[in-house]
């Protein structure tokens, strides 16, 4: 049994992030909101975001921060989707060999006790 760490952010099967597209300023956003975070209008349509992108930033969290009970170290960074949206995300650890612009793919990761969230992992690790 998988329990999402928070409702309404992503689907588990298939792994996908749930975003929105603004009908006025045409920006994508994540998470889904009632108002576009860029222009404030209500003309936002729910969309499923791309499940792949390129690595834009990465680091590794080496000690457990307050309120976090999962494994350390873990990867943390930003992946840029083809929609032009930069997503804050966990990354598969270790990140030592990561490079700017490398191809990344979305997957679901277990934080413990069946609670799951999203993360991005290098395409090559999956042999894609």
């Amino acid at each position: 049994m998988h329990t999402p760490v928070h409702e309404g952010l992503f689907t588990v099967d298939p792994p996908a992030l749930l975003g929105a597209l603004c009908g006025e300023c045409e920006h994508h956003c994540f998470p889904r909101l009632a108002h576009c975070p860029y222009c404030g209008c209500e003309n936002v349509d729910p969309v499923t975001l791309s499940d792949h992108g390129t690595l834009w930033g990465w680091t590794e969290v080496t000690t457990a921060p307050p309120g976090y009970e999962g494994v350390v170290p873990f990867g943390f960074g930003i992946v840029e989707l083809p929609e032009g949206l930069r997503i804050v995300t966990r990354l598969t650890s270790p990140t030592a060999t990561y490079e700017y612009g490398m191809a990344m793919r979305l997957q679901i990761v277990d934080l413990g006790d069946g609670v799951v969230t999203w993360e991005f992992t290098p395409e090559t690790e999956r042999g894609v």
Partner: protein, 378 residues
């Protein structure tokens, strides 16, 4: 426009003080500032208190302990810029003719380690997406990529500020460090090592503002105190959203605040003799130089190498030692910078005095996002 004088400043040192309450620290700073300004009981008509963690009515507790209540007391939270926000409110009220004298103070008693913030919903902490130094690290990495800064430059920045801190009796860390020691300290979030990050800690600062006397006798005036918030878009901005877009043409809040502060004060970056700016991590100060218009992107390494930003240099930055030496008590940090600049502009900074300092700028930026820029003139 009404000129506003900084009539008195006071500080409780920044550090760790077991058994001393946040109220006690506020009392120390407030008493010192009121004494310096020679303000009698009932001599100020309002008080603004900046704090993020001290809880409900924190300012009321401080003034209650001194039997100085009765006037409006407003507690102000604007993250790392809380003190600057309080200063902006006080300055505006004096300029509007609402009050003649206003007390502004800020204090904090932060737990050790990574700052925990109610800003983040619990699920974000649980998912590992609320790690402040990790955000700092991503910002540092981007700055290195886009401005050609190296990890050695980050270390050199720490060396500069810690060297300055040696001469500040109110700082928490007063021991010089070498670049090698910085690079050998524990890796927290690559590229940031422990010594490249400031320590959340404890302290308080206070400032008394009043309408400047018509005879021009004010020694130090507050030329501008500007608070700005973020515009949407930057994924790595202090607003820490879960996503963002191309932010190449979206000015950060520090730039918005700096532009307005320069305009209001009628000065530009070249007029500044001394700067105190946000160095919550080593890269943050180098980024602030760009954002405040002190240098062009990519010039930081040269400025560090030439010593332009060190004491004795062309325009010293963080001669107090910065937050890297002082530590960061959120509500007190912006006002702590103002205290430093006032002492410098009065020529009372002792062995860390910047000779002939006449115009200074203070800057903080943080959670919200909030950024404040203050310009002070002698």
């Amino acid at each position: 426009m009404t000129s506003v004088e900084i009539a008195g400043v006071g500080l409780h040192p920044f550090g760790r003080f077991d058994g001393v309450s946040v109220t006690d620290m506020g009392v120390t700073a407030v008493k010192a500032a009121l004494a310096e300004a020679a303000i009698p009981r009932g001599g100020f008509q309002a008080a603004f208190c900046g704090t993020a963690y001290a809880g409900v009515a924190a300012g009321h507790k401080v003034l209650g302990a001194l039997a100085l209540t009765g006037m409006p007391i407003v507690n102000v939270e604007a993250g790392c810029a809380s003190g600057g926000a309080a200063l902006q409110l006080a300055m505006g009220a004096i300029q509007a003719g609402q009050y003649e004298s206003v007390l502004v103070f800020g204090m904090e008693k932060m737990p050790k380690g990574i700052i925990r913030s109610t800003f983040f919903e619990p699920w974000r902490e649980q998912a590992g997406l609320a790690v402040t130094p990790a955000y700092f690290a991503l910002r540092a990495q981007r700055l290195m990529r886009e401005s050609g800064i190296t990890k050695n430059d980050l270390a050199d920045l720490v060396v500069k500020n810690r060297r300055h801190g040696v001469n500040n009796p109110d700082a928490m860390f007063r021991k010089e460090v070498s670049a090698q020691e910085v690079l050998n300290s524990r890796l927290v979030c690559d590229p940031l090592h422990l010594f490249m990050l400031c320590s959340p800690n404890e302290g308080a600062a206070a400032v008394v503002l009043r309408r400047a006397p018509a005879d021009g006798s004010a020694r130090v005036t507050l030329a501008s105190a500007v608070l700005r918030s973020h515009l949407p878009g930057s994924v790595l901005g202090e607003a820490t959203p879960l996503s963002g877009i191309d932010d190449s043409f979206i000015p950060p809040p520090s730039t918005l605040a700096a532009k307005a502060a320069f305009e209001e004060a009628g000065v530009g970056p070249d007029d500044l003799d001394i700067v105190e700016c946000q160095d919550t991590d080593a890269a943050r100060e180098l980024l602030a130089w760009e954002e405040l218009g002190l240098c062009a992107s990519g010039d930081q390494a040269r400025i560090l190498a030439d010593g332009d930003a060190a004491i004795g240099g062309r325009r010293p930055v963080n001669v107090s030692g910065g937050l890297l030496s002082k530590g960061e008590p959120l509500g007190a940090s912006a006002l702590g910078q103002v205290v430093e600049l006032v002492r410098q502009l009065r020529g009372e900074a002792g062995i860390r005095q910047v000779a002939g300092a006449r115009v200074g700028l203070a800057h903080t930026v943080g959670r919200g996002a909030n950024a404040c820029v203050t310009i002070i003139k002698a």
